[in-house]
């Protein structure tokens, strides 16, 4: 093995790579060659660091210097100054938004200080295409530990004791799911990884798979051992090209060295994983709809019960877990349930990966302990609202989540507290909006999403989402009446109670929370025929003279 005195890590996540890191990698390789450093310095294409807003990001080790918004033109400087002479290139270093401090190394930045990286511990540190680097960071140790020193029932017990809850949005206890599946007698059983991430504002699964694909494979194998399954499927969105490529490489390498396939580590345990692609349907993120799609049909949810652990894929007992849930498993097996319970809150132990987007200084990917407040996330980690504007509302949990305003910013974020506050933690998407936005316009965007994504199987959802859109659209055109608001509330209650799957049940939540907190804005649209933010076309802006977001 060759040793290098320095490593240049170039973020290759989708968010950064659309600003062309390949040309940055090429520029680094070229410049290093020019200076005769190619033997001493290694260039690694790695997963996301999380600072998507500041991308493309480059980290130079051993110092851990964090360079932001790097262009191929800057590369020559970094090589000539930093790598050759040992002087950091100040103008490119990460700038703390609040403190206006310039010299920032990777661990020093406040953006990272409040974070606890369990799921993302390898993202941005290893080359995701190298199984050796994953193993060097303790990878596949947990699989070995489970296979050689633990009974399947013990593995299930550790996961149950850890209190891990599903990170896909519903927060169902993972250990319970595994226990039910392990108890089922029929064979074959299946393990499915739900990577059909469609919730607007969520991109955590994509970046986990791009940065650390082996963690998910290892977890699936552990799950297979625990419940007695020998076949796994990863159902991933067809649009996630880079994640798919990373997974394919990872599966191939794991098979080559015998960590997937027949007789893993000589223990007689067989497990293999296949990738299946989605074709663009949000509803396929619902577990039974995902099974329908995987089996080769329209992705329409099934009636539950029977639950997947009893009758799932092809009618067989199936464990289905989200990417982030699975990525927690190897650490729990390695360090034990007690360690995991030490993170987060008693009802929801562990960490959560959040994706920050909208009107925030540092948009991107963060991982924090459960129970952190939204205020800390927005102001301490996210750097606050840009452009000196005021915070208006945040939507938690993606488009199917609810909206919160200033007074709810101090609610601890875990599944139960958020539900009590009338919103949802969901998939961990946080969409921050400032005061330039019109609430009716935002609500219309939510409503349109559900009209498009309703699968049409059950009537309440198919018709209800359409009617909600019609009413909100009416408001944005100045046609809304007081009666419409009553109808909207009635419709929302019906839609909450009657549909087949969570898509329909959660569809009214975002709209109703906007109505709850900003009823006056809806009323301004109907009475004064004015859009206070001046966004809705055809309506005069009554209260302020702001031009709006665009």
């Amino acid at each position: 093995m060759q040793f290098h005195r320095a490593h240049v890590l170039v973020c290759h996540g989708t968010n950064c790579s659309l600003k062309a890191p390949q040309s940055i990698v090429d520029a680094f390789r070229g410049a290093l060659k020019e200076h005769g450093l190619e033997q001493e310095v290694r260039v690694v294409e790695t997963g996301c660091f999380g600072l998507c807003e500041q991308g493309p990001t480059v980290v130079v080790y051993p110092e851990g210097a964090l360079y932001c918004r790097v262009t191929p033109g800057d590369v020559a400087d970094i090589v000539a100054q930093h790598l050759l002479k040992g002087r950091m290139v100040e103008r490119l270093l990460y700038r703390e938004p609040a403190l206006v401090k310039t010299v920032q190394t990777f661990p020093e930045a406040q953006y990272f200080q409040k974070q606890v990286r369990v799921v993302l511990r390898n993202c941005g540190l290893i080359d995701p295409e190298s199984i050796e680097e994953y193993i060097a960071r303790g990878g596949y140790l947990s699989l070995g530990k489970a296979l050689t020193t633990m009974q399947p029932a013990e593995v299930v017990k550790v996961v149950s004791d850890s209190g891990l809850r599903g990170r896909g949005g519903a927060g169902f206890p993972t250990g319970l799911k595994w226990r039910f599946a392990a108890r089922a007698e029929r064979q074959p059983k299946y393990v499915v990884c739900n990577a059909d991430e469609g919730e607007p504002g969520t991109f955590k699964d994509r970046l986990i798979l791009e940065g650390d694909p082996h963690a998910v494979l290892e977890a699936m194998a552990i799950c297979g051992y625990a419940v007695g399954a020998s076949r796994g499927f990863i159902y991933i969105r067809g649009e996630y090209k880079l994640s798919i490529a990373m997974l394919e490489t990872a599966i191939k390498r794991a098979r080559e060295i015998g960590l997937l396939g027949a007789n893993i580590l000589g223990t007689g345990f067989d497990f293999d994983v296949e990738i299946r692609l989605g074709s663009g349907a949000y509803v396929c993120g619902e577990e039974t709809a995902l099974f329908e799609s995987l089996e080769g049909g329209r992705g329409e949810p099934r009636i539950k019960p029977p639950y997947p652990t009893d009758r799932g894929l092809w009618g067989q007992p199936t464990v289905i877990n989200n990417v982030e849930t699975l990525a927690n498993i190897p650490h729990i097996i390695e360090k034990g349930a007690e360690w995991f319970r030490g993170l987060g809150t008693p009802s929801t132990p562990g960490t959560k990966v959040f994706t920050l987007c909208g009107d925030i200084v540092n948009g991107g990917l963060i991982e924090v302990p459960m129970g952190i407040t939204l205020r800390e996330v927005i102001y301490d980690i996210g750097g606050g609202i840009p452009g000196g504007r005021q915070f208006k509302l945040a939507q938690t949990g993606g488009t199917s989540g609810g909206c919160v305003t200033e007074e709810l910013l101090d609610v601890p974020m875990d599944y139960d507290s958020m539900a009590k506050a009338g919103t949802a933690l969901g998939s961990g998407a946080l969409l921050i909006m400032d005061d330039s936005h019109c609430i009716v316009d935002i609500a219309k965007s939510f409503a349109r999403f559900f009209v498009h994504e309703s699968c049409g199987k059950c009537v309440p959802c198919r018709e209800g989402t359409k009617r909600i859109y019609d009413i909100v659209d009416g408001f944005s055109r100045g046609r809304g009446t007081a009666r419409d608001l009553e109808l909207l509330e009635l419709l929302a209650r019906t839609l909450y109670m009657t549909p087949l799957c969570p898509l329909g049940q959660t569809a009214p939540l975002p709209i109703m929370t906007t109505l709850k907190y900003f009823r006056d804005e809806y009323e301004a649209h109907m009475q004064g025929q004015a859009c206070p933010a001046g966004v809705c076309p055809g309506l005069g802006s009554g209260l302020t003279k702001e031009v709006g977001a665009w």
């Binding site: 504002g201 663009g280 992705g299």
Partner: protein
């Protein structure tokens, strides 16, 4: 018109409304379809991988191809059509060489997707959902594609472009012209 399967007889009023712009699908194209079918037919749940293969290969799924698939998998053609019409990445009509998918979900909406859409429509001189007359560009909506970190974003075929402003649209388009 198509190699209909005599097993499934359609009444006139329930005939699936698939409109092929080509009167017949040429034999070499169907041969490519057949090879995709042969590649996947043994996998469990073969329908999706086959349709994804055809969509990838031809850029759309002609009616004749759906019949081939139905025959190969011994299922009614309407089942194949129902699946094709369910998913947004499958198309029953030919598209432009470059399919521009514009995200209009909340995070992109908040960051100004509407202005990007207006600019794209202006530059290409077509409306959302249409194809340019020279068949170079299709313009369509998509739901969130998980690149919200750099909203507003669009996808041109498999390539992602983010942090867009209306001024950048012509620059992006010029890459493909």
């Amino acid at each position: 018109m198509f190699p209909a399967n005599p097993q499934y007889h359609y009444e006139k009023e329930v005939e699936p409304k698939v409109i092929s712009s080509m009167p017949t699908t040429p034999e070499p194209v169907l041969a490519r379809v057949d090879s995709i079918i042969a590649q996947h037919r043994e996998t469990l749940g073969a329908l999706m991988p086959i349709l994804q293969g055809i969509q990838q290969e031809l850029g759309w799924i002609p009616e004749a191809a759906m019949h081939r698939v139905a025959e190969a998998l011994s299922m009614p053609p309407d089942k194949v059509y129902s699946v094709v019409s369910f998913y947004t990445l499958f198309s029953t009509k030919p598209k432009g060489k470059y399919v521009i998918r514009v995200c209009e979900s909340a995070p992109c909406h908040v960051e100004g997707a509407a202005a990007i859409i207006a600019e794209l429509e202006k530059q290409l001189n077509i409306k959302m959902g249409e194809v340019t007359p020279d068949r170079q560009f299709s313009l369509e909506f998509t739901s969130c594609v998980g690149i919200c970190g750099v909203a507003p974003a669009i996808m041109v075929n498999d390539e992602v472009h983010g942090n867009l402003t209306p001024a950048m649209v012509s620059q992006v388009l010029s890459k493909y012209k």
